[in-house]
């Protein structure tokens, strides 16, 4: 059904664009640690439920654009996205059967892994590492996962849960 798949691509593109906008929405300097990794969460959703539609090349390009957008060294977000994408590909069959909150816990782990690579690159760029703060985005990402997941389910008419 070409019409429906076209529709799907539009939804993917729109959700990614929205995530990109949210990822640079200005927050007070001290609040920035609490910003969820919107782009990563949306990418994880599409990797879980449309693993054949979203390619690694797309993830790379998305990551590079996010690097450009946020002004961080090229490759930082692509690295995280590709690593997380690979884990998603390995695990999506199990994760689909998880309850929403178990999926959240899984998202916490995935975003935490991406944060590790982010911090690694930032450390190479000469910025001091923070303490446990780098896990805050993982926590908030896990918290918005049910919201994001249900909303995208509705958009794609997937009645899964």
């Amino acid at each position: 059904m070409p019409a429906q798949s076209l529709n799907l691509y539009v939804i993917i593109a729109l959700s990614v664009l929205l995530a990109l906008v949210l990822s640079v929405y200005p927050l007070p300097m001290d609040m920035r640690w609490w910003r969820p990794e919107f782009v990563l969460v949306v990418a994880i959703y599409w990797m879980f439920f449309m693993p054949l539609t979203v390619s690694f090349l797309f993830l790379c390009a998305l990551g590079l654009f996010q690097d450009l957008l946020e002004g961080v060294p090229f490759g930082q977000h692509s690295l995280g996205l590709v690593i997380v994408g690979y884990i998603c590909i390995l695990s999506y069959q199990r994760v689909r059967n998880f309850s929403l909150w178990r999926q959240s816990a899984w998202v916490f782990v995935l975003v935490g892994i991406a944060q590790l690579t982010d911090n690694w690159v930032q450390g190479m760029a000469g910025r001091p590492l923070s303490g446990i703060q780098f896990l805050y985005p993982a926590l908030t990402s896990a918290l918005i996962w049910p919201l994001c997941s249900l909303w995208l389910d509705r958009l794609t008419h997937r009645h899964h849960h």
Partner: protein, 285 residues
């Protein structure tokens, strides 16, 4: 991907690419700035006459105060010019500035960068100093056509040459990654510096113009076990609040005039001989 990271970090081969692509990014920051603009518009449009009158009154009072200060300034400026002529120093030229508006904040919590709405089209250039109404904020590090990125002085990769306004002691103020503190690097233990001192840009290094306030010293810790003082200073500029910034176009030949320092400190009674050149003496223990 790893190769990309390493190439991007340790060489500047990717810089031209980033500059070219930076234009794609500007619309995102413009979109996220829309709520602020709507709010500004609302504030400007739906405002009562009483409020406007009060604001007008306050502004008039402020203007009067500034005008009084300006009267003194005129004579001081004339005096300054005369003294400079006596010293054969080149004249201090007025810097021209361009007002820029903040349109975004870097989403990366480890870096202190902001995005402003001026780019190459308005003459902004890499390395350009940026001020707000209260002091030095930082410098432009990336320019695209319609926007540019400003690295704030509190960023942990930023350092700025400063001098103590009271006696001319020179130092380097480094960002700490904390918005409210800078630390002075390699200040020897016998340096005359104390809490409350104003640090102004020294103009050394030809990057920042001379004499703009940078920070105020908050505390000085003399630890006998350490070779250097621990000096913590608070930036004067409101790094996280100012929405209107000034881009400085300075006249290049006035930068780092050696005579300028002498004029400002000649009236001070307690001139310390220790400057950063003396810091090699290290701890006096």
């Amino acid at each position: 991907m790893m190769v990309l990271v390493v190439v991007g970090l340790y060489t500047d081969k990717l810089e031209p690419l980033r500059e070219k692509l930076a234009q794609l990014v500007t619309p995102f920051y413009q979109i996220t700035n829309v709520p602020t603009r709507v709010n500004d518009w609302r504030k400007d449009t739906f405002v009562s006459q009483v409020d406007l009158k009060m604001e007008n009154e306050a502004l008039k009072t402020e203007l009067l105060i500034h005008q009084r200060k300006l009267q003194q300034l005129a004579s001081l400026a004339a005096e300054n010019v005369r003294l400079r002529q006596l010293l054969n120093a080149s004249q201090m030229l007025q810097d021209t500035v361009l007002i820029a508006e903040l349109i975004g904040v870097s989403p990366n919590p480890l870096s202190h960068k902001v995005i402003i709405n001026r780019g190459t089209k308005d003459g902004a250039f890499k390395g350009q100093p940026v001020l707000d109404a209260f002091g030095l904020m930082g410098q432009v590090i990336e320019v695209s056509e319609n926007s540019s990125t400003v690295l704030l002085i509190s960023d942990s990769t930023h350092a700025i040459p400063v001098q103590v306004n009271r006696n001319g002691v020179r130092a380097i103020a480094e960002g700490t990654g904390d918005l409210n503190s800078l630390s002075l690097r390699h200040v020897s233990a016998n340096t005359d510096i104390r809490a409350g001192d104003l640090l102004v840009s020294s103009g050394l290094g030809d990057r920042f113009p001379v004499g703009y306030p940078v920070a105020e010293v908050l505390q000085v810790v003399r630890d006998p076990g350490k070779a250097f003082l621990t000096v913590i200073a608070k930036p004067m500029a409101r790094l996280d609040r100012s929405r209107h910034l000034l881009l400085v176009f300075e006249n290049r030949d006035q930068a780092s005039v050696p005579g300028a320092l002498n004029v400002t400190i000649s009236s001070s009674s307690s001139i310390s001989s220790s400057s950063s050149s003396a810091s090699s003496q290290g701890g006096a223990q």
